[in-house]
Symmetry: C2
Amino acid sequence: MTVLKDVSGGVALWRRIVDAIRLDIIGGKLAEGDRLPTEAALAERFSANRHTVRRALAVLADEGVVGAEQGRGTFVRNARRLSYPIGKRTRFREGLKGQASSLASVNISNRLENATATVAKALDIRNTSKVVRLEGMSLADGVAISRSTTWLPYRRFADFAERITRLGSTTETFASYGIEDYARASTRISARHADVEETQLLGLAPGAILLVSEAVDVDADGVPISYALSRFPAERMELVV
Amino acid sequence: MTVLKDVSGGVALWRRIVDAIRLDIIGGKLAEGDRLPTEAALAERFSANRHTVRRALAVLADEGVVGAEQGRGTFVRNARRLSYPIGKRTRFREGLKGQASSLASVNISNRLENATATVAKALDIRNTSKVVRLEGMSLADGVAISRSTTWLPYRRFADFAERITRLGSTTETFASYGIEDYARASTRISARHADVEETQLLGLAPGAILLVSEAVDVDADGVPISYALSRFPAERMELVV
DNA sequence: AATAGTTGTCTAATACATTAGACAAATTGA
DNA sequence: TCAATTTGTCTAATGTATTAGACAACTATT
């Protein structure tokens, strides 16, 4: 058996300090304009060297969350995070309206494939049935806020990809199939580290944390119409139920 | 300005591989008993060295999630994760009933304090009003599944701590104050790395990811009765809306 | 019995993470 | 102006993470 000597957990100390300070800011312990504790004080708080703390602060400064001023201290610059509401009638655009001045959805690729066990179960269709698979991402004010993969039954939504590129919104595309109303049947939420592709597309540092939502939408008759796997950077978004 | 040359993100590659494989298992891509891809194949998938993959597999083996057999391959041993349902009528015990044979809640400490801005806003009371603060954690089948901090207005629930130790469940304790029914007003979900205290109490490897839920419960008249900040290890729990 | 495929172990080299100490540069208040 | 406080920069040492290659040990199949 392999004995694990190390207990660092694979997450660098400077990274944990970044997360902790960001949390203090987002959580309201530190307001915009507040001065952070001195580097020496933070070093003591985290049982770390001042250099390690400085590295963490450099990352936060790079994100625009804090800013250092020589001789004065380090100050909170930007403390905001978007909220994405989840409920029976979850609509992407409406949910974020008012929180960002621009909102863009990008279609990355579409393809036809056979449903895996997971997808088939979610959509309540037979294994290996044909499904349409859409890869996309969305941006708020130019910053990536989600990366999503959506599956729809091919039988019913063969040309969904073309329609959504033409119509823009999901709601309107469903409407074009005669589905005037649809509802969220279930949402499962988990969290994990971003993989390489997500890291690049979302413009995150590798190892960033993602909130993962698996959602099934159903039409008025309760028949599943889509299964979406969305990944939100936890440092930019929170989900509100 | 500090230029960040390095882009490793502070999360070790082996740790990201651990998360990715665990997710494949929990997400159903790999079922119990299935053989994982070979170490060489995994190394290619993650653009990593075989040794790095082996380190990740060693961690998963240590957790009992997978087991390697020389000459044959590495197999999935234990694929289960608990689901915690969140909705209008969220009740801790009922939600997890049937998923675990034993369910324990541990009271860590209680104290009286003045509400911070965040707590005051959630409970809709004045800043620095007195609040009761309860620290607790819960275990399913002996494994820690949550660490929670709950605040209640002192004016109404002065002896909440004593009553809940006597009565056991939250629902019954509220009932003892004449609150026969209560509902979830809002739940905000985010994610972050566990800090040192959480790591120890929950028995996690440092750097583990937590799902953080901030929930406000209200009585029948819509008056806030509690504000709870719960932290769930993402590797053991998922939240279902 | 031979072979191909798989995990287990070892050595070694290189890059990243963390600590340590010293001093410079800017700011603030006495 | 002086002194204390704070961030900025540099050098150096040590331990962790990652890669690389080679070979042993075990399993299943031919």
